[in-house]
């Protein structure tokens, strides 16, 4: 029976298959004709020997305007970048390559054929504008990314970019000319599936995903040649308050991360055009030295401090400023300093020697929300410290080579000089492995310090960043009970395994306190801040133009007084719940902490803070007026929800729990916020773009200022 049916099948199949083959061949020809887009000539075709010619630049083909590639007769020989006026452009075709490879360089223009004297590379990201409005210590920031298509066929732009790690991203709008489409927050996988489907069907769509709390990916699908699409992102965050200065930071560059062997969920650092070669789920493409894309940034910060602003400074960038009233300040980035390759840091000091602890509240249909900036009591500054055991841990990896390591060494140099008799110290370095200066911490004698300085001078940056080795070396030795142990990490934080490192610190911390120093122009602030947070210490940053010695002196000034430890808070009539951070940190001189929570109270009340400083009980009392029903700080629910998400994420690093992702997702969706498990999606469903599937163009970015390309970006094709 079976044999008969097989025979029957074969009999029927033979003629039918022949007919079907003919029909499909015809259809196939039609399909190819109809689906081949104007720009679907990847591979370029055959090139007949070497040839060269001069192309006169097309009008309007300077940086920032799309070159008119479409419709020109010989796409294989077209330039990939607009040439500047009067510039000679050499186009070389190589005859020895029978089939050109697909290039990531420029869609629709074939393989990499153009070579031009000025190394300006066309990129889909044209401009970023940033506008921040600061009120009190809460900042509302609007970031607009302007994408365009400088190529002759449709593209998908993919841009990996940084935002502050405590940013509560709650708004996303895609603009197509005058039309503005508000993005929808959705579960990440669902948003990704919608985006892929819209992309495949030819609709303009954009997707915002979070790779790390401070690294995001913006994807914009189906940008047609010559078209522009803007994406507008809004977020809130709280400012840091450091030694009397408020600090507003806008990160502009993602530094090249090192991922330990075997890791695949890291952030890969690859050369331009080498996407997919790092083996990591997220990749950042870097421009080579001397290359540029024309992408620039403009930034304006409006400050309404509420009290007179005494002074401000911006050491990272050239700025201009205006002030319409003593408590108001507007600072703008100078157009001459618009290259986005370093963090923008604005600091300002308000009137009064010492700001008071302040409580902000907000009530809406969801209930009450508050933030409390808790300042250390002034009595602390009058108390002297115990003997210290200071462990300096220096990142000597390749990304630190050059200016960063010189600054780190200068800071440690000053730190060693500031040690007092009775203190002890240790010096640990790490790159691929860790090494210690002494087998055990050494007494701070002049001889030991002299030897340590000699050792310090010999250090240089090279190799990977196995920070885990540095953590182990710094925390895994017996603690001297007569001394307070402070571990000072000096690093750029350029690693891809942040959660692993934070989990290790949590597990090994013991009685130590971690003070992390971010060294460089665009450091990994998420890691460096969280190292200090998990390590119950504090953080400091050392940008290329900062004085290393001064930063270390400020640190020693801080630890020269005891911290307020064992903090307890009686919230009184505030009836506070869900307060973050969940574990109260120690209070150091000059370093207030910001607590955020929910409340139900409605009376005038007071909040009592108690703790110990140098063995003495200390108490603080803060008045809280909850009767003002009109008090609104609309950012507070988002700020609170972001803190709650961060708390869940931090817990996930040391206490794996299957429910945590679901809890993060739930909070993020309820408050309309970005998280690792949610994403913003926006689709323009009114119109389908024409042409074949859009080609993906990752936006290549410059390396952070002071970071060397050759020691951080691997150009080999199979790096893992």
């Amino acid at each position: 029976m079976k044999a008969a049916s097989r025979r029957c099948f074969r009999l029927l199949w033979a003629p039918a298959s022949t007919l079907l083959a003919l029909a499909i061949a015809l259809l196939s020809g039609c399909a190819n004709k109809t689906s081949t887009p104007a720009g679907a000539y990847y591979g370029g075709g055959a090139f007949g020997g070497y040839s060269s010619r001069t192309i006169t630049p097309l009008p309007g083909t300077q940086a920032g305007t799309p070159p008119a590639f479409a419709g020109t007769p010989s796409p294989g020989l077209l330039p990939q970048s607009p040439a500047a006026a009067g510039e000679e452009l050499w186009v070389i075709a190589r005859g020895s390559e029978p089939v050109a490879q697909r290039s990531n360089e420029s869609p629709g223009s074939g393989a990499l054929l153009a070579r031009f004297e000025e190394k300006e590379v066309p990129m889909p990201l044209k401009h970023t504008s940033v506008h921040a409005s600061i009120s009190g210590y809460i900042s509302a920031v609007e970031v607009t990314q302007q994408f365009h298509n400088p190529y002759s066929s449709k593209i998908e732009a993919v841009y990996v970019f940084p935002l502050p790690h405590n940013a509560a991203v709650n708004e996303f709008i895609m603009s197509l000319g005058q039309r503005r489409i508000r993005g929808i927050i959705r579960e990440r996988k669902e948003a990704e599936a919608i985006y892929q489907e819209a992309r495949r069907q030819g609709y303009v769509a954009s997707l915002l995903t979070e790779e790390r709390p401070n690294i995001f990916t913006q994807s914009v699908a189906n940008i047609e040649p010559g078209n522009e699409i803007e994406v507008n992102i809004k977020y809130f965050h709280t400012l840091a308050y450091v030694d009397g200065w408020y600090e507003f930071v806008f990160p502009m560059a993602v530094g090249p991360r090192f991922n330990p062997p075997g890791m695949t969920e890291g952030i890969g650092a690859v050369a331009r055009g080498k996407n997919g070669t790092s083996g990591q789920s997220t990749e950042v493409q870097y421009l080579k030295p001397g290359e540029s894309t024309g992408h620039d940034i403009s930034l304006q910060v409006d400050v309404d401090a509420g009290v007179p602003i005494e002074e401000f400074e911006c050491k990272t960038h050239e700025v201009t400023h205006t002030s319409s009233a003593p408590e108001r300040l507007t600072v703008s980035l100078s157009p001459a300093d618009g290259l986005p390759n370093k963090d923008f840091v604005l600091r300002y000091r308000v009137a009064g020697d010492h700001i008071k602890s302040s409580l902000l509240t907000h009530r809406d249909e969801r209930g009450g929300f508050f933030t409390l900036m808790l300042n250390p009591p002034s009595e602390l500054a009058a108390l002297r410290r115990q003997p210290l055991e200071i462990v300096f841990v220096l990142d000597c990896s390749g990304s630190m080579d050059g200016r960063p390591i010189e600054q780190a060494k200068a800071a440690v140099h000053r730190g060693l000089r500031l040690l007092q008799p009775g203190d002890s110290f240790q010096l640990i370095t790490f790159s691929m492995t860790a090494s210690r200066f002494g087998r055990a911490p050494l007494e701070a004698t002049p001889e030991n310090i002299h030897r340590a300085l000699q050792y310090l001078n010999s250090l240089r940056g090279e190799g990977g960043t196995m920070m885990f080795e540095g953590i182990k070396a710094a925390l895994d030795f017996p603690h001297d009970p007569h001394r307070l142990r402070f571990v000072c990490f000096l690093t750029d934080g350029y690693i891809g395994n942040e959660s692993e490192i934070l989990g290790e610190i949590h597990q090994r911390l013991g009685d130590s306190r971690i003070f992390s120093f971010g060294i460089g122009s665009a450091v990994n602030r998420y890691l460096i801040d969280h190292m200090a947070q998990v390590g119950r210490g504090a953080v400091a940053y050392l940008a290329p133009r900062d004085e290393a010695a001064q930063t270390m002196e400020d640190f020693f000034a801080r630890i020269s007084h005891p911290a307020l430890t064992g903090l307890k808070i009686d919230w009184g009539g505030l009836q506070a719940t869900e307060i973050f951070p969940r574990e109260l940190p120690d209070l150091f001189v000059g370093r207030p902490v910001i607590l955020t929570g929910r409340f139900t109270g409605s009376q005038q009340t007071s909040v009592r803070v108690s703790g110990n400083a140098a063995g003495q009980p200390v108490q603080l009392e803060l008045p809280a007026n909850l009767t003002d029903a009109a008090a609104t700080h609309k950012a507070l629910p988002s700020v609170w929800a972001r803190m709650k998400i961060a708390d869940f994420a931090d817990r996930a690093t040391y206490q794996p729990d299957r429910d945590l992702p679901g809890q993060i997702k739930s909070v993020a969706l309820d408050y309309g916020l970005m998280s690792a498990f949610t994403a913003f999606i926006a689709v323009d469903s009114t119109r389908r773009t024409v042409g074949a599937e859009a080609r993906t163009v990752p936006v290549a970015v410059p390396l952070p200022e002071g970071v060397k390309y050759e020691t951080t970006v691997d150009e080999s094709p199979d790096r893992n």
């Binding site: 079976k2 298959s17 709008i173 508000r182 489907e197 069907q201 969706l669 119109r687």
Partner: protein
């Protein structure tokens, strides 16, 4: 024992499509492993080629995929019947699981050109509560029928989406409630 019949050939073709490269040798190896009766090699070749080509073509053809999902825009109109419309709140939802909201766009009149705000909690149930207000002078507010928003949707599957629109409130610039009619219309994709 399994034999190499039509379904096995289809399987081979399907795999070939996935790998984007047809491997006849693999197909033949499999056939040998299954212990099938000998089929003349040219016929296997033609069969696999045809099915591979067919599978590849259909995979590229959008119509099949679009049966599972398509995108569409729905325009939301408010008619304030002569009164100046300064603010509104409305609820739009899909009453079955066939539609997902993928974007919200502003309206045609300058007073409501910005994309309206939505309630993220409601959105989790494919229900969108939109609200917008305009502070422009009363004489410049729309008084007749105007498109106040466009909802971008993804329709899933072949089930017909059931959409519902409910105007919760409309007001003039003094905050006084006004009578208005709400309607929606699916826009044809260009």
């Amino acid at each position: 024992m399994r034999t190499l019949d039509g379904s096995a050939i289809l399987e081979c073709a399907g795999r070939a499509k996935r790998r984007r490269r047809f491997r006849l040798t693999e197909c033949l190896r499999e056939r040998a492993a299954f212990g099938a009766r000998r089929i003349p090699a040219p016929r296997v070749l033609i069969s696999c080629f045809v099915f591979g080509l067919a599978a590849g073509l259909f995979a590229q053809h959008p119509a099949l995929e679009e049966g599972r999902s398509r995108f569409s825009a729905v325009d939301i109109y408010l008619d304030a019947k002569g009164a100046p419309l300064a603010a509104y709140q409305l609820e739009f939802r899909a009453t079955n699981t066939a539609a997902r909201i993928v974007g919200i766009e502003g309206g045609e009149h300058p007073a409501f050109a910005g994309p309206p705000f939505y309630d993220p909690e409601a959105m989790q149930h494919e229900r969108v509560i939109l609200a917008a207000f305009s502070a422009i002078p009363t004489d410049k507010l729309p008084a007749g029928k105007t498109r106040v928003a466009t909802i971008h949707l993804q329709y899933i599957g072949n089930q017909k989406p059931a959409l519902e629109l409910k105007l919760q409130t409309a007001a003039d610039s003094a905050g006084t409630k006004i009578s208005a009619a709400a309607s929606f219309e699916e826009r044809k994709t260009k």
